[in-house]
Symmetry: C2
Subunit: 434 residues, 2 copies
């Protein structure tokens, strides 16, 4: 016989275990988001973690590809772990179109995987919450996504957010109007970095990419201030006049105002989103006071989700909340925690022969809505109290042989080190619910 | 420019997409289980999908190993996707022991991955719900797991289940008492297949493994019937007398009886669980009327969870619900669905210039607890009704220019094709809540 060697219980870099307190919080946040999405008629879907590499990456080979966890499976298939929830959603819509109704509003909360450089504080496994409305080009859908972002953060009890809104197509038209459409991708990327690098460097980079005049106008475009109407008129002036897109921006900002959300939503032409993918309205959401952690919810309108898999075009609009970044933001704001606790009461064990009775009391309390657990061993009471305190349980219930026979119990309020003796179950429940 | 080729939107064999209705049901079931576990003071944890292969598989190479999704990552690390939640939990306890209190009660709901043969109706990605109490050998913990299984299935509104309970160590002692300990693993496997292959074949196989006499006694042992006390006395007689383990079986079955669960829990010595791992009480749970789909919740007591990673022994007891098999069982029983619907009401669109008003009404209804969505386009009313029906939404709200100006709305009860006109918001809410 060989003695098995001990193995170091380590976790891969960029991957994380979640301790109970952190995981309770993640579950609470997920539930709040699910309930919010569901109150807007969005339905949940799920897709596999593993897919054909071809399905996830297409035939191409971009920057993302290098980060994808990709391998050959037992059946010699080239497979990969999903790196976002958008590509699987596109594949899903192409595959299940006959079973679905349009417009289709879905949300999807799930883990995604990217072999990114962890030195930038990035994780290799993280959770995304995506929501999209596909199958319609209606302005109402654009508005609804903005309203749902606002509602989601309100439901999360976050005191202040700002949803920055702009329109990609208006920006593109502006560039085309100044014969700079060829540099669009580079210009977008430069503008996207404005906050990081500052106006001076941005102006220089833009001038190099286009011309000093276009650079100047680009800065005017993205820095336009005033009321939404004033900003839109600057955008229109620089882009060659009003059109359907600027009309839509007018409509969305007016509706936002009418719905009492003008404090939350800000028209900000500097928001362009790096991705090629977007063709209409775009948004980024910042937590007031924690702007430096970046956008916690971004998205926009696109012309076609499923082009890679289907001939039928599928326009849509949506956004994604990065759960991990959101939690980082909440930590940054040091918001008071909701105080999720592991249980409401601990039934202590005094006498092992009363085990069934302890479980009976616990079960009765659960039926009355009190989450409680039974300590499994008749250890010293002080140790059982210490256990409860460590786990964040505020009350301990003590039943010895005498109380068992009298049909009563004693309650220990752990925070006050105070006892309330000889309660029956009704009085106990009343005391716990105070 | 090359025209991108279309890619077939397919899913890997053994992997599944979940359509909204199926996913809503999965989320409902998960939430019910989470709330039940939480009411017993169990706390959630999470671990990565990807781990070092060495951590998941140890140094060995068993049957499981061949099914594991394993590859080399970008950093030349040998990594694998988790194939259960037990091994990651063991690694977790070894790593985080200083941050946790004992006894530690955790649940973990997550996806696991096995490259199994899909011809047997197995999935390669499936969801497990594990719950364990570690750090105590107390009988109370054994009892609590049984009680929580019963409570979980009750919370799921499943009319009848039977939790079959036995004790692995008593069975082992029985074999040792008849000098058949050497064949233990094979005997356990044979007994585990009793239901599939029948008594005749089992007897023959057991006789070949041991002797006709031991085979006979094994069948007597596993087929013992009567009250729990009677069954235990047969087990004791065959295993060489009473001991601590049979005492514990007495205590657990007596407590189950005292707690009114004797209809749900059955002492069944034929339950042994295939795995080497178990050392005490073992359980398997069957849905009454859908026994043939197999156990939907199995587990037992073990001496040491973390032996591979730590010198400190960590005894525990726990069980696991296979969510996919449970759903298969519910389908088999053809239980009436809870009727999760995507939303309660559809605010139809009559006039695009009223878009903000429609969203205002929807938002007001949500604040009153009504889940509702706004149809984004002013399509024909009949098409909007058809959309609502397809999505399972029972009510449609109709607001034209006239109603907008009057501050009222009309309600369409889709099932009855009946209209209720000129409601204000209070009367609408009252009507929806009837």
């Amino acid at each position: 016989m060989n003695i098995p060697m001990q193995i170091e219980p380590r976790v891969l870099k960029g991957f994380r275990d979640f301790l109970p307190e952190a995981e309770m919080r993640r579950r609470d946040l997920s539930r709040i988001l699910e309930d919010c999405f569901s109150s807007f008629g969005f339905v949940p879907i799920d897709t596999p973690v593993l897919e054909y590499t071809e399905v996830l990456l297409g035939k191409g080979g971009g920057e993302t590809d290098k980060q994808v966890y990709r391998f050959t499976d037992h059946g010699e298939r080239d497979v990969a772990m999903r790196f976002d929830l958008t590509v699987p959603f596109a594949r899903y819509m192409a595959l299940h179109r006959p079973d679905l109704y349009l417009p289709f509003k879905r949300y999807h909360i799930g883990k995604v995987f990217r072999g990114e450089n962890t030195q930038r504080g990035r994780y290799r496994e993280f959770t995304q919450c995506d929501f999209d409305i596909v199958g319609t080009t209606a302005p109402s859908a654009d508005l609804e996504i903005v309203l749902m972002i606002a509602a989601a953060f309100k439901a999360l009890n976050i005191p202040g957010i700002t949803i920055h809104v702009s329109h990609r197509a208006v920006f593109n038209r502006f560039l085309a109007h100044h014969n700079a459409a060829g540099a669009a991708v580079e210009v977008l990327r430069t503008v996207d970095k404005l906050r990081k690098v500052g106006a001076q460097t941005t102006r220089q980079t833009l001038a190099d990419l286009t011309s000093p005049d276009v650079a100047e106008k680009t800065l005017r475009f993205i820095n336009a201030t005033g009321t939404p109407a004033e900003i839109i008129s600057v955008m229109e002036e620089l882009a060659g006049g009003p059109d359907e897109d600027t009309q839509r921006l007018h409509a969305v900002t007016a509706a936002v105002d009418q719905l009492g959300l003008s404090d939350v939503v800000r028209l900000d032409p500097s928001i362009t989103r790096g991705l090629d993918y977007y063709t209409g309205i775009v948004f980024e959401t910042f937590l007031n006071g924690a702007e430096k952690i970046g956008s916690v919810c971004s998205g926009g309108r696109y012309d076609d989700l499923v082009g890679l898999y289907s001939k039928e075009a599928m326009p849509g609009v949506g956004a994604s909340i990065g759960l991990d970044r959101l939690i980082a933001g909440l930590d940054e704001l040091a918001l008071p925690m909701d105080g999720t606790r592991a249980a409401d009461a601990l039934v202590t064990m005094q006498d092992e022969t009363l085990t069934a009775h302890y479980h009976h009391i616990a079960s009765t309390l659960r039926e009355r809505g009190i989450r409680c657990e039974v300590f499994p061993e008749a250890q010293k009471l002080g140790r059982q109290f210490a256990f409860a305190e460590k786990k964040g349980i505020p009350y301990a219930i003590i039943i010895g042989r005498r109380e068992y026979e009298a049909g009563t119990m004693n309650l220990r309020v752990l925070a006050d080190r105070r006892n309330v003796d000889d309660l029956d179950i009704d009085r106990l429940v009343a005391t716990l619910n105070v």
